[in-house]
Amino acid sequence: MLKNKAIIRLAFFGAAIAWLILLFSEITILFSSLKGLPPDVAVWLPRVMLGVYIVCLFYYYKFRIELDDSLNFTDLLWKVFATGLITTVISLVFRLLLFLLGKTALATNLIFNDIICQINLALLVNFLVAALTSWKRLILYQKSKWLLRSWALFEVIMLVVLLNDSLGIALSQYTSLFINIAIGILVLVLSANMRWVAYLNFRQKWTSLLLLLLTFFYLAYFFYTVEKSTELINEKTQAFLDYRAQLIVLVLFWFIVIYGIFSFLVILFNLPTSSVFEQKLEEVVNFQRISQSIQTEQDEESVYNILLESSVSSVFADAAWLEITGANNDRKMFTYRVTEQESKNIVDHLEKNNIKGVLDAGSEKTKNLSKHLAAMRGSRFRSILAFPIIVKEETIGTLALLKELPEGFNKEMTRIVSAFANQAGISIENFRLMEEAFQNARYKEELKIAKTVQQSLLPNRLEEDPGFQIAAFSASADEVGGDYYDTLRINDHLVALIIADVSGKGTTAAFHMSQMKGIFHSLAQQHMDPKEFMQRANQALVYCLERRSFISASYFIIDTQEKIIRYSRAGHCPVLYLKAGEKESEFLKDKGAALGMIRSKDYCNYVETNELKYAPGDIMVLFTDGITETKDSKGEEFGNEGLAAALNEMTTATAKEIEQNIIKRLYEFSGTKNLDDDYTLMTVKFTNN
């Protein structure tokens, strides 16, 4: 940045020095020529200095205007205008001075006139170079490679012309004509680049026209002033810097004028259509608003509002309504300059005339229903355009646009609004997908919590007794299940066992499981008959289980003194029992409905207490249906047979070993490590004590 500033200052300083040298050498030469003396300075000095002056100015404006990205098109024109204004004011001051001097000797002094003339020329050149830089930016807006090359060529030619002028090489008539024609063609080609005009809005166009007009005025003024004074001096002497001999000045001048005129005309002719361009731009912006409404954390409602607004402004509708049928069949109405009653009248009218249009939500076609509306009395609207809003191939609503003019909509408008409606549909679909994803994430989080809860409900430690060995295992799939097992010591020779399976999965299952745990811990302590335990548990659960939920459970009381098991089965998988010394185990099938199955006092008729005398070496395996329902790759179930077989081959093993064998066999059978259910096993082996 600092470097740029330094260059700007240097260029300005260079231009000033060059011009001062130009002026003094010019005066010296003129003075000498008037006195008939050979000049003290070289005659080429003013020409060369003019060249240096132009180059310095070129760099000065290059850094001032061309490299300043903050300038827009009108700013550029403004820069040109401002430069013109300053130079003109300065020039006018001199003119005023000249006027005040009147017919005095000084006013008619040739040298004084020449000074004025040179000042004006310098001001003109300054103005031209400033304009050149601005034009360059305008021409090179949205540049192509080819355009860049053309411009580079133009700059090179100008440099050649400049050098030629400075060196004062006289060209033959044909050569200069050829050069003039070449430059003329190049200027015309470059002047055809007017893309920037399209990006001006209506106001900017007017501003630009005004600025250009004033620019022309300055140019005309300068041209007149410089031309006149040059003529004046030319009459007296040839020994001065005649701008007409400086081709570069003419090239610059004509380039500025031609491009200026082109721009002026193009802007002028573009004036009537500028609203179309602005309209298109607005459509794009509206489109973006609809599609970006998700990122800006807006809701469906705002999408509908934006849709209505954008559609109305895009087709210049006089009124519009948007009717949305929500998920629960609730209708939402968004209106613009039309009452709900009016819209209802129109819908009724169309229905009455049996017009199958988009207004009934079933149709998916966009229709221009204007001709039907023409026959409707008492309505100010004569044109209607209706569109369906489709989300996931389902029409969720209708957008209707109205105009008071007959045949007010054309194909173009239909296309635009149709695109809006589609985009709105997509946005809404995205909204819903996002909502779903959000819900899913929350559900997963809930499951995680439920799983932690479930894990914490299972006992850390099982009740130990010298009378039996006990082992338990529980594993669950990603989804939370409702398997529960627990033990509790009632007194020194009584131990209670429970295994239960809550129907359903997820948080509710975990919740019911915790209720079961509470019931077990409070009831088991009171040492009641297993049947009574089930009855009371059922009674307690009636009030908290959902309509379709139930809990299957088996409750055992092991009496190590009497060597008796008293148990009750409530809809749970029958217990697997292997008597010591026997090879085949059996399932103890007996009566019992699950808890919550019957929610009245009648439950006592569906549950019973069973008694079993056990001997040392007997093995009892409690399990949940996840074990027996495990499937292999062919879809066969592990079944009661598989479980019994896994026990039968381990008759003399300890409880822990038996459990491990069953788990091993189960995994071998399923052939996978991925669980898709809950597995719970509790193995008890009675000992001699």
Binding site: S503, G504, R548, S549, F550, A593, M597
Partner: protein, 116 residues
Amino acid sequence: MVSIKRLQEGGTDIIAVIGEIDASSSIELDLAIAKSVGEGFKRILVDCQALEYISSAGLGVFMSYIEELREKKIQMVLYGLKEKVANTFEILGLADLLHIRDNKSEALKLANELSV
């Protein structure tokens, strides 16, 4: 996946359940029974000949209607249960709470007897 078809035969509603009933498809079963009850049928037969599997959620549906059917004096009879499915009903103790028969004619007979 489950497919449920309803068929009326002389004032008896027959609900045919085809496929597997798990937690998600149990809703369809619930809906079918609710419709049948809502339409005022006094005899409902559930054809389970093509029912391959029923989860605890599906059993929960049958369970949830026991009270209501008793109050409204609607007779529901299930028939044609496969062994595995019947076993599931058996273990849970639902077999004692619901009327279950081997085939359609027996089921129809029972429904007619009970509704008298």
